[in-house]
Symmetry: C3
Subunit: 271 residues, 3 copies
Amino acid sequence: MNQDFISTLLKKVREVNPLIHNITNVVVTNFTANGLLALGASPVMAYAAEEVADMAKIAGALVLNIGTLNSTEIESMIIAGKSANEHGVPVIFDPVGAGATLFRTETSKRIMNEVKVSVLRGNAAEIANVAGYQWNIKGVDAGEANGNTVELAILTAKKLKTVVVITGKDDVISDGHTTYVVHNGHPLLTKVTGTGCLLTSVIGAFAAIEKDLVLAATSALVFYGVAAEMAAEKTAQRGPGSFQIELLNQLALVSNDQINKYSNVEKIEQV
Amino acid sequence: MNQDFISTLLKKVREVNPLIHNITNVVVTNFTANGLLALGASPVMAYAAEEVADMAKIAGALVLNIGTLNSTEIESMIIAGKSANEHGVPVIFDPVGAGATLFRTETSKRIMNEVKVSVLRGNAAEIANVAGYQWNIKGVDAGEANGNTVELAILTAKKLKTVVVITGKDDVISDGHTTYVVHNGHPLLTKVTGTGCLLTSVIGAFAAIEKDLVLAATSALVFYGVAAEMAAEKTAQRGPGSFQIELLNQLALVSNDQINKYSNVEKIEQV
Amino acid sequence: MNQDFISTLLKKVREVNPLIHNITNVVVTNFTANGLLALGASPVMAYAAEEVADMAKIAGALVLNIGTLNSTEIESMIIAGKSANEHGVPVIFDPVGAGATLFRTETSKRIMNEVKVSVLRGNAAEIANVAGYQWNIKGVDAGEANGNTVELAILTAKKLKTVVVITGKDDVISDGHTTYVVHNGHPLLTKVTGTGCLLTSVIGAFAAIEKDLVLAATSALVFYGVAAEMAAEKTAQRGPGSFQIELLNQLALVSNDQINKYSNVEKIEQV
C-alpha cells in the first residue's frame, strides 16, 4: 500500500463530501459530527424507526455504535442496516462495551447476525467478545491486550466474514486474508472520549469512497493517526481539552505531505 | 433598522437573562446551552411529556428542533408548543432536514399545523419543503441555492403566517411584508455542527425580549454573524475546532462597537 | 482536614482509575466523560434497563442526574440505584431543576425514597425542593441564595440521612454532624453548561476511593475549585469557550502543590 493511495483517497473524500449516516451514542454525537465535517464528510444523525431506512439508503456509509444502546435504538439499527445492505451502502459497526454487559454482547451478536456488516471496529476485548473468544475487559475501556491482536483480527474476520479493525497501541486491519498493522496514533487519544467512535465514522467516510474496504479502513487509520500525532505535537503539555480541539483542527488541516512523511503502516505476511 | 437598536436589544438580553426552553437534537445540546449561556441567556433543556408544558410556560421563548426527532419527542414538542401558545411565549421552530426524509417533512408540517410558530428558521431547502415548494436538498445540508431566497422567504411567510428566516450565504428575514437581508456571517459556520441550531436558539433569546419578531430575528442574525466574523478572524488558519470554541467566546465578548462597525443589513423594498 | 489528604486522595484516583457509571442528561454527557477521563477516572454511560444493574455493580460509583429525565430513564435510575445499593457502590444524585417543574421535584423525591443515596449534590434551591423546604428557583439555575446554606445542608442531611453538597458562591458539605465550607471555585463556572453535573461525577470518582464521604466530597470540591481557578487564570478575558476547554486541561494538570497552595476550606463548628 503506498502513501499516495492514502492521500488520493483523502482528497476524494474532501471533494465528494460523502453523507455518513450515524446511529451512535449520546456521548459522542457532537464530536463525531464535528470530526466528520472537519475531514470533509457530511454527517447526519437519524435514529427514528420511521426514517432510518430512508436515510441509510441515500448515505455513502452507515455507522452503527452501541455506546448508549437501548431497545428502541437497536430496532432502528437493524432497520437501517438492512436498508443499507439492500442498497449497497457499507455498514461500519462499533460494538462499544461488548463484554462489559451481557446486553451489549448479545446486541452485538444480533446485529452481526441480522445485518451484513462491512467493517467491525473495536478494541481487542470488544472484538473478542463479539466473536466469542476469551479476552479481558473492564467497563468499556480495553484492558491491556493479553493476546495477539493480529491473530485475533484474522480469526474474527474469517469467522464473521467481515473486515475487522482492532485498535489499541497498534491498530490491525484484516479481512482474514490481507492484513495491515498501523503504527500511527498517540496515547492522548485515550484521554478524550469518543476518539474511537469518531474513528469508526472516519472509516465510514473512507469506505463511502473506496470499495476495497481493507484499503479504505487502513487509509482512514493512517490519516486519523497522523492527525492525532500532529495534534499532540501542537498541544504538548497543554492537556486533553486542548488536544480534543486540536484533533478537530488537524482532521481539517492534515496535508498529503504530512501523511506521506509520517504514515507508518506495514503489511503482514500470513503463513 | 439602526445599529443602536441591535446593541440595545443585546444589552437587554444580557441583563434579563431570558430562560430559553429548548427541545432540540442530541448532537447540539451542549453547544446550544453553552452558546446561550455565553450570550447571556439562561438555557434549559426539557423533553418529557410530563413537564414540557410547565417548563414552556415559564420560558421567555420555546425552541423546537427536529434534528434527531423521534415519535415521543414530537408529542412533547406539540404539548410544549401549545403551552407556549397559551401563555404568549414565542415559539421558534427549526425543521432540520425537512425534505431529507418523508418523516421529517411530515413532522415539520404537523408542527406548523398544530402549533402557532412565531419564527421558522432553516436553510432554503428546509423552508421550501415545509412550505411545499420545490427545492434541492442533500441530507440535512442545503444544496446550492437554486432559487431566489428573498422570494421564498416572503412567499413562505405569507403562506404559513409566520416570520421566516432563511440562512445561507446571505440570510433573509421576512414576515411577508417587511423583509431584511443580513450579509454578516462566515463560511466557517458550515464547518461546525449545530451553528444553525444554535442560531435558532439565539433568535429565541432575542424574541424573548423584543415583540417585533422581524426586528428580533434580524438583530439576532447580525449579532451572531458579527460574532462569527470576529471568531474567524481570531482563529484564522487554525481550523474548525478552534473556531467552534472562539465562537462561544465571541458570543460573550462581542461589543456594541463591533456590532455598530460590522453590521451589514439591508431592508428590501417590496413591489 | 489537611491538604495532604486531598492530594493523596487525588493521587489514588489517578492510580486506580475508578469506573464511574453515569446516568446523566444529554446536554453534558460528552463534557462529563471528558472531565472524568482528564481527572484519571474511567467513565461509562449506560442507560438501558436491560444492563444498568450489571454496569452499576461493577462500578466504583453510580451517578444519577435528572437534567433531561424521562420516564424510561427514571426506571433505569431506580434499577441501577438498587443494584449499586446491593453491591456497596456509592450513589451520587444530582436533582437538576428540582423545583422548576413538579415532575422533577417528585422524581427527585422518588429516587431519594427508593434508592439509598450516598451524596446529594445541587444548588440551594434544588436541595431545598428535594428536602421539602421553601427556597427560590428560576428554571434550573439557582436564584440568589436567600437563606443560610450551611443550615440548609445540615437540616437536609439529617432529614434525608445522606451527605449533602450545596454548591454556590461557597460550597457546603455536610452529613448533619460534620460540616465543611469550601471557598474555591470561580464565577466562570456559571458560564459553562454542565460544570455542576461534572462536579457531581467528580465527587463520584472521589467517593469510589474514599469511604468517608464527607471527606471524599470535600476533597472533590477543593480539587475541582482549584482546577477552575487555574483555568480562569489561564484564560483571563478569553471567554467561556476557552475556559471550558482549559477546565478539562486543568483537571488533568492540577498538581499537589497547587492544591496545597490554593485550597481554601474551613470546618464549621456546630452548636
